[in-house]
Symmetry: C2
Subunit: 179 residues, 2 copies
């Protein structure tokens, strides 16, 4: 087989980064190609149109989400604590894919919204097994809140320390609820 498609992943990574850092509006094909160190023609070789780029990103998101849910189920101190911790922006592949996809959902991209709904439901189910349906809801919304705020920080580690402190506080609140 001929040379490996190194550009494909580079393009996807670049698209993800730009979505996170500058938003959907500025994540143009030209910008993505430039960031990826690839020509625009090369980009379009792998992804015939922008929709294909988005689809690939959502595929990646789904894969990572499945892995994450497995880890969540297996978490030693319970899935709820794992969930709160992992809702903090930690620049993991999952975080990046998730927040990048959030940018698309904001722009009213229907397919993205559907995927989100699916992942959220799975999270909620796992949480309910750990802490029951009511607290699961509370934990789920707190996690969404953390992501909501991560969005506004544009991917930079702004307020990293204070966010980590917030997570500790939320874990404390969770403990109070567990009793």
């Amino acid at each position: 087989m001929p040379r490996k498609p190194v550009a494909r992943d580079a393009v996807l990574d670049a698209y993800e980064s730009l979505l996170i850092e500058v938003g959907e509006r500025a994540a143009t094909l030209d910008a993505v190609a430039k960031r990826a160190g690839v020509s625009k023609g090369g980009l379009l070789y792998h992804f015939p149109n922008k929709e294909a780029l988005i689809s690939a990103l959502l595929e990646r998101l789904d894969e990572l989400a499945q892995e994450d849910i497995e880890q969540m189920k297996a978490a030693p101190d319970g899935s709820a604590a794992y969930f709160i911790r992992s809702s903090l922006w930690a620049d993991t592949p999952m975080d990046r894919a998730f927040v990048a996809a959030t940018r698309l959902a904001e722009v009213a991209h229907e397919e993205t919204r559907r995927r989100f709904a699916g992942i959220q439901q799975q999270w909620l189910d796992v949480l309910a097994e750990d802490v029951g349906p009511e607290i699961a809801k509370a934990v789920s919304y707190m996690g969404d809140g953390l992501y909501f705020n991560a969005m506004f920080e544009g991917g930079q580690g702004t307020g990293d320390a204070s966010r980590e402190a917030d997570v500790e506080i939320l874990l404390g609140v969770l403990d109070r609820l567990r009793k």
Copy 2:
């Protein structure tokens, strides 16, 4: 005095609606003018450019937020309960302005982000007076989570009933925390 500037408010309302329903990308000047039942020239008579439209929206948001915070302070069953209830999408002027502005923040609009941070801080301060700083954080994140989800529903009353049920659940969780 000549006729009243009826178009001004119509334009602002239209811009708000389009941001909520179809996102920032599709809220073009042409689309806004059409939705407002106003000519593009008329729109630009009141708002010389798009930035002016945004500024006016943020002004409106700030005004409504101040009113909201006053009501929150005066809420009979505590500001925390008021906050959770008001985080539900209820199509109030405040909700609309808030979610519309969210769309702009998503597109990395700096001024919008700054305004948000200010309002959030005020909320947090009021909440802390009611339930203390720790639970205030939890409540604040839950509220953000509710808004985060409202965003994805695009302003439609999708899942209205289930969201209301969620609010009741969160109020129950709050009660458990109060003790």
